[in-house]
Amino acid sequence: VSFLIPECGIQPEVLKSTIADVGEYYLVRNLLVHELVTHEFIDAFVKKGSCYALTYNTRIDQDNTAALLPNGKLILSVDKDTYEELGLQGRPSRYSGKKVMRYIITIDLTDSGFHPDSKKHNRVLWALKEKKPLEFDFLLAWYNTGAEGSTLMSYFSKNQIRALKPKITFSTLRDLQCPVLQSNELQGKPEESCSTEELFEWLGAVVNQVSLDNKSSSFLSTYCCPQPNTIVEKAFLCTITGFIIPEKIIQLLEQLCCYFEEPKLAHWLTLTVHGFADSPVSWRESEHGFHKGGENFYNFVIFRNLDYWLQMAVGANDDCPP
């Protein structure tokens, strides 16, 4: 997650508490998937708030991957051999070509038919515990809606669980060429404002520290800042890296909107959120694949008058975002 605020040199006051409280996530090593399917876990975490889990260090195009969504669905993206050994019902992956080599199994943990002692539950537990035990390193996070009870740390204390804080970096960019934007001109207006695509590319250049000058003596790069642009004295760029839950991103977005409550020199700011390249799902549970890249990210451009642009991007093996 990163955000860029032009005409700002230091961390804004409205954002200090949100950034400090960005929450923590957990890394659990060698966790068997059937432990996420037990009713103790479902009752303690899945039903009380939003629980997120994603396998760590697995590649969606090569390895088996698992993810737990906040709506209680457990998604398993497995190769053909694992699928046949597991014996659970799934569907072929949309991106596996003529010869199906990958299958997606979706298990709704909050389904009324998934109560303890139900056939469904027993079958799933048997498949994941005895038939083909699947074990991964998991990234876990839980948004507690205030209910009392155990924490992830105490629940998985017998596994190798570690609490981690997202890494936060700040930088102040000096004399930055910023495109001029008008919120109602998406295509840009010649001599007046830049288009959404130009901003999108410019933002990528800034975040990747690409030089925005196109000097005639330099033949290395022909990229230059889109016109019209202004030079801002300073811009604040903050990057937060980790397993960050949507609730925290929403808080960050709200506080970024609050930034404009007081008069500011900046006309707009941006917030970019990247999804994991190896997640089995992207927007609205549609399958996510990795072709030449696993990009799935979105970018908010928030204007002073609280108009906004939302740009969403996916890779080749993905559905169009909603």
Partner: protein, 100 residues
């Protein structure tokens, strides 16, 4: 657009070489096909760079980089870390997330 890791030699010289040199299509055969490539960034510390090329030239550039084993009589190897049509996507690569 890609991020490329380089084992030796300055990318500036490599870029000149890539831009002007013909791409190698098959082992032993050279096909004259210069491709405009932008070197958007180069970081000496990590020996990595971001290159920009037209999408129809991606395969040619990728194969040229893969097959480039020597430069100025020094062995070198290029490894493509990430490719994307969006420059913004290159700022976050979850496959590089190391938690230890």
């Amino acid at each position: 657009m890609k991020i490329v890791r380089e084992a030796c030699s300055k990318i500036l010289d490599i870029a000149r070489y890539l831009v002007r040199a013909p791409t190698v299509s098959k082992v032993g055969k050279r096909v004259g096909a210069a491709l405009p490539v932008d070197v958007l960034t180069y970081e000496e510390k990590t020996l990595s760079a971001i290159l920009r090329v037209i999408s129809s030239g991606l395969v040619k550039l990728w194969s040229a980089l893969t097959l480039l084993g020597f430069y100025q009589n020094r062995r070198c190897a290029f490894r493509v870390l990430q490719t994307s049509p969006f420059l913004l996507a290159l700022s976050g690569n979850s496959r590089e997330l190391v938690l230890d």
